[in-house]
Subunit: 350 residues, 2 copies
DNA sequence: TTGAAAGCGCTAACAG
DNA sequence: CTGTTAGCGCTTTCAA
């Protein structure tokens, strides 16, 4: 860091390193600060000639608007908050990718919050974000605490709940039905001739619960409720955990001939564990994942999975907020982006 | 959005929904705004009694400090900027995890920027972040454009370059040597008796280049420079791409008996491709990854990889900034967190 | 289309 | 330890 003399000698030289402000730009362009402000935010409100002079001054002085001052004066911040349960999970990575992609074309900035799947943390983060007068708020999931929900309902900005669907969203929502997806996947296993598909899941959260319910419903509909087998753990999901749960399942329910995995990591772990056990994946044991990360199609044998529109959800959420902010109305404010079962060798039975 | 009457009728009722400000809290607690401000930021500067009254008023009014006003008045923002090349990559996911974990214990907030491995984007983001008077800036990589570097050197906040090491950091740095890591991994393959280890890589960036150089150096040292085989693609890395590159390698250099993969995704893809080709992984073909994601140990056969301290780097970077901000000096301002070769079945030869 | 004046809510600096 | 006084740099009226 550069050292400064105790007291700078008064000198005609410009104060070193002081950032240019609107006042500086206005002086440089021979106009008022408000015109500069307008030229920058709504170019159409300023005559062409003035605008040109202003833009040049901005260039020459390397002016960068002060976000804080702007937010304070306008009571608006340009920050869109995003609250997700995990930053390390590939599923949310894809979501973020879609989000960052979409935001690049707007004047907004994303501010990420990591809830760690903890309701209290989420509540705290919601408060903090709301305190910053965000331009919008994007929340993963629909399971906010009631206090959080109350705060959200008082929010003066658009709010989008994503990744899931609920009857009564706070404001807007875009996602897909985890229940239906699991139900479809289970139906697929049954249709392929697996008689006793099981379910394995790690770190059970509300989203997972809905998938599990979908699995159970499909089993019940097939008159196989008594054959439902579920193995879960509160620990975080990982490929290694997938292997562990698979082994546990084989021990607890040796009759299970297929397994619906709560996510792709678990499915991959199940695949490796099955191979270690010398099982023929697809024929002796069916494996189906959830999310359809790129690895699923590349695996050997290729793994069946439910493709979820994570990137698309991110893009849609951002566009919904931008639309609301610019045009006012968003239609429809509730979007089901669906899912798609990607059938591959791991559930081929034959 | 709630509708507002054109002109609110003057009424004795409290203005609906108006957020409490310092003035409100001060009035409620019977003191001045500055004392409230102090009680909140430096509790020690206020007597116990006053503090208690203030805290209660804060509670009762649900006061939340206005970030923008605070930043404007103090010329400090509490925001630590983090610029990474990808939000979807598991490697950076782990980094973020470490970062978010560490920041939770501080009063700071992280603001993520996605450079998409693009120097111009990175430069732009650096400017934007710097314009917000961040409390600190964390940059992945050491390959900023010269304009970006110039801006960074003028920055008035701590700057940490992470994930890599360079002779002349902008300010502080924490990472490990990609060159040395690849050199070590290649050395391992040679020591295990593989005579012609190749290298595959996707989306070659400067970090990758250094790994490749490490590979080449190890080959040269072993007098096998003439046996070096490299297959790369500008496309993004993925498991599927790993399979593709592996097949391409087999075609182009059928004599290669091992492959050092630029990342774990590629290694996993190589594993699957090798299995598809009926090769015995470990014996007929050695496979080594880079980063050691959880999947590597769980795979069948388990895959050798270079473990990189991503979470630790995140935690260290944040602590370096916090220390600089609170205590002034950070020692040492340059940290090599090293790496560790995790040897597993995929390079067992035997 | 342009400008002048008046804050936004907070904190730095200086007094008591 | 506590309070007063001035802004921070921008945008919002309102007026010309």
């Amino acid at each position: 860091m550069p050292l400064m003399p105790d007291r700078a000698a008064p000198s005609p030289a410009p104060p070193v390193l002081k950032r240019a402000t609107l006042v500086d730009v206005a002086a440089h362009a021979g106009t008022s600060t408000i015109s500069v402000s307008r030229a920058l935010r709504r170019p159409a409100m300023v005559s062409e000639g003035l605008r040109a002079r202003i833009m040049q001054a901005v260039q020459e002085l390397g002016y960068v608007s002060d976000t804080a001052a702007s937010a304070l004066a306008s009571r608006r911040s340009g920050v869109i908050g995003v609250l997700i349960p995990s930053v390390a999970d590939a599923v949310f990575g894809d979501l973020l990718d879609g989000l960052y992609d979409a935001v690049a074309a707007t004047p907004y900035t994303l501010q990420l919050g990591n809830t760690r799947s903890d309701a209290a943390t989420e509540e705290r983060l919601i408060r903090i974000h709301l305190g910053q007068r965000p331009a919008g708020l994007i929340l993963a999931g629909i399971d906010q605490s009631s206090a959080a929900r109350a705060a959200l309902e008082r929010a003066e900005c658009p709010v989008v709940q994503i990744m899931d669907l609920t009857e009564n969203p706070v404001d807007m929502q875009v996602g897909f039905s985890h229940h239906a997806a699991a139900r479809t996947a289970t139906g697929h296993l049954l249709a392929r001739g697996y008689h006793a598909p099981a379910f394995i899941g790690a770190r059970i959260d509300p989203r997972t619960e809905r998938r599990l319910a979908g699995y159970r419903e499909a089993m019940a509909e097939a008159g196989l409720a008594h054959r439902a087998r579920v193995v879960t753990t509160p620990k975080p999901s990982s490929v290694g955990m997938g292997s562990t749960l698979f082994r546990r399942l084989r021990q607890y329910a040796p009759d299970a001939d297929a397994v619906l995995c709560n996510d792709d990591d678990l499915a991959l772990g199940a695949l490796f564990a099955a191979q270690r056990a010398g099982l023929s994946v697809g024929r002796e044991i069916g494996i189906c994942g959830f999310n359809d990360l790129d690895v699923m199609a590349a695996a050997f044998p290729a793994l069946t999975s439910v493709r979820t529109p994570r990137r698309e959800i991110g893009a849609a959420a951002l566009s919904m907020i931008a639309t609301r902010l610019w045009d006012g109305d968003v239609a429809p404010p509730i979007r089901d982006l669906g899912f798609k079962l990607m059938v591959r060798a791991s559930t081929e039975r034959v």
